[in-house]
């Protein structure tokens, strides 16, 4: 069954299954996108995606390769605190939808930075777009490396071959399919991922002797007593309250700035459909996330109680190892296909975001009179170029880009989320505030990360600093406070009035909320702005105090 190094003894089996899934993705991508004739069709799937398909696609885009290969390893090492951190990631689409997604969908935005351009002008939007491209490339690179490593370690294909052949096949299908193809494929990938994760997990639990094997996500309580005996600290929270609080600015708010998630909301056929999609998203993601915790729990149980031996460097392969140890090899081949589907669905979202950011938020912003036909062609080229950049970077990945994907959440939370949230809900927000927030907030976040000036890192706890929890707890509130304070002051400086477009901004804010007229009392609260500033400053000060870790 296994050759001792935790890989398929018959890699052809795995290759055939993966090849068949890729063939399916190409066919679906080609059929879905054949009617595309404009950049809107390419990036928004024509703005006509149904609720169930979109909800599944949202979940698939969000669930990266990490669901299969990374999270379970972190649960193995960090135990329950990591599960507590992960649970709140389900809030991303619901919060995006209610806070700004429907407003930007109403506006017809391609990307969040499209809104930033309309709201704050060209300079601020290019700064935001560059940060978003960086975030998307970090994300895409993580998937690309992960897919090549999966090919290498599980199927025995050399890293470079897997990277170039696998990478180009994936980039090709995403370019061919556009958003319509990516959406339909992502919906299919979500079903594949759910089945390939949960059903084999049930079989593993049955082999271990768990009575609740027929519903793996929640029915494994009979393993708890043995677990408590073997690993008494498994359920301990380990870290102080501040650590659990820092998850909110870093990841809950961070996810609000991720362009590839927000873009999914804009593809909805209507606002009602977007809201129904978030219901489907919450249900399916909750199901698979809960199964992930069960897989992590089962991994710890298998190593501690059952005596399964997993070397530290193999921790990332926990899901695969459990399948190799307890299930027939053909099941593991399906699980590998599920893992690659998870990487591919996220990668497709990232590449579409990079394509839209490059072509629509940078090139079209600098050359606004570009012909629609050329714009459409450029859109395809931009997606492909984004993919090729990710492949080339993955050959010898620069250390600063291969950081935890969760660190990228924080960067999005600092540089993009405040600009969008405050811009949608407060008319006074202006370009000076936006630029100050993105540049100063982004610089602080990068400076206090352990990757640039390790001495400035706030906690000295590798995981906390490396995932951006400590940096975001400082930089996200600073970014919110700066945006509000700088906007408030510059709006009252007569010398700057000629550079501001207050009347236009007010019309935009009213219109994206559905109003036709402009009323002074709407989206203009000084109390709301003051409360946000006070809370933000308090959180930033708290971040600077000792963490006790």
């Amino acid at each position: 069954m296994i050759d001792g190094s935790w890989k398929l003894s018959n890699p052809v089996l795995g290759l055939v299954v993966v090849a068949l899934t890729f063939l399916l993705f190409y066919v679906v991508g080609f059929i879905s996108n054949r009617k595309a004739a404009s950049a809107k069709d390419l990036y928004l799937g024509g703005g006509n995606v149904g609720a169930l398909t979109n909800g599944l696609a949202m979940a698939a885009t969000y669930m990266s390769l990490a669901t299969f290969l990374g999270i379970t390893a972190l649960i193995l090492n960090l135990k329950v605190p990591f599960i507590m951190l992960w649970i709140q990631l389900i809030l991303a689409i619901p919060l995006i939808t209610i806070i700004y997604g429907t407003s930007l969908r109403r506006m017809g935005a391609f990307t969040p930075t499209h809104f930033i351009r309309e709201r704050y002008g060209v300079s601020a939007s290019i700064i935001a777009a560059l940060f978003m491209i960086l975030v998307s490339i970090m994300y895409a690179l993580g998937q690309m490396i992960g897919i090549a490593v999966t090919f290498e370690t599980l199927l025995g294909i050399p890293y470079m071959t897997g990277l170039f052949v696998g990478g180009l096949i994936i980039v090709g299908y995403i370019t061919v399919g556009g958003m319509a193809g990516a959406t339909n494929n992502a919906a299919i990938q979500m079903v594949i991922m759910a089945l390939m994760f949960i059903v084999p997990l049930g079989a593993i639990m049955k082999a271990i002797g768990t009575e609740g094997w027929f519903f793996p996500p929640l029915l494994y309580a009979d393993m708890v007593p043995a677990m408590l005996e073997a690993v008494p600290d498994f359920f301990d929270y380990q870290y102080p309250t501040k650590w659990y609080f820092s998850v909110i600015p870093a990841l809950t708010i961070g996810a609000l700035g991720l362009p590839h998630l927000a873009m999914r909301v804009y593809t909805s056929s209507s606002l009602k459909s977007a809201r129904s999609a978030m219901v489907w998203f919450a249900f399916i993601l909750g199901l698979v996330f809960s199964a992930t915790y069960a897989m992590g729990f089962t991994g710890v149980y298998a190593t501690s109680v059952e005596g399964l031996n997993i070397a530290p460097e193999d921790a990332d392969k926990l899901t695969i190892i459990l399948n190799l140890a307890y299930n027939p090899e053909w099941v593991t081949a399906l699980v590998i296909a599920g893992a690659i589907s998870a990487g591919v669905s996220t990668l497709s979202g990232n590449l579409l975001a990079i394509g839209a950011l490059l072509s629509q938020d940078i090139i079209k912003t600098l050359k606004p009179n570009i012909h629609e036909r050329l714009n459409y062609r450029l859109s395809y080229i931009a997606i492909f170029v984004g993919g090729v950049i990710a492949i080339l970077l993955a050959i010898e990945p620069p250390a600063f880009l291969v950081v935890s994907i969760l660190w990228a959440f924080g960067l999005a939370g600092v540089t993009n989320a405040p600009l969008i949230i405050v811009g949608v809900w407060w008319k006074e927000a202006n370009k000076y505030g936006a630029m100050a927030a993105a540049i100063v907030g982004g610089a602080i976040y990068i400076a206090v990360s352990p990757f640039v000036f390790p001495n400035l890192a706030l906690t000295g706890h590798a995981v906390t600093d490396g995932m951006g929890l400590s940096g975001a707890m400082l930089a996200v509130p600073i970014s919110f406070a700066l945006l509000i304070i700088v906007s408030y002051i510059t709006n009252r400086m007569p010398s700057l009035q000629k550079n501001l477009t207050r009347e236009r901004d007010e019309k935009l804010v009213e219109s994206i909320h559905g109003w036709k007229d402009v009323q002074a009392y709407r989206y203009n609260s000084k109390v709301g702005a003051l409360v946000t500033v006070v809370v933000s400053i308090a959180v930033a000060i708290w971040a600077l105090l000792p963490w006790g870790m």
């Binding site: 809030l91 619901p94 939808t97 109403r106 929270y237 809950t252 909750g286 809960s290 559905g514 109003w515």
Partner: protein
């Protein structure tokens, strides 16, 4: 005025409800307990259940109220459909 106030209040309270529902671990880090539920420690299973079914329930509520507020904004601005 009425629809605007509803929209702002709904967004603030709903966002807070989502954040609390998804971050139940924060609550148990402040108020630790060794109680058990369904065979699991409460501090483990309650955040998982709230992070799935609790958030799922809130999305249903948020969807319904959001749609209703859209209709009210439409009505207040003269009955033009808002989509």
């Amino acid at each position: 005025m009425k629809a605007y106030k509803k929209e702002v209040r709904f967004t603030i309270w709903m966002a807070l409800a989502f954040v609390l529902m998804g971050n139940a671990g924060l609550f148990f880090s402040i108020f630790p307990t060794d109680a058990m539920l369904f065979g699991f420690p409460v501090k483990y299973i309650v955040p998982i259940l709230m992070g799935w079914f609790g958030v799922f329930f809130l999305t249903i509520v948020a969807g319904k109220i959001g749609n209703r507020i859209d209709d009210e904004i439409d009505a207040e601005r003269g009955g033009v459909t808002n989509d």
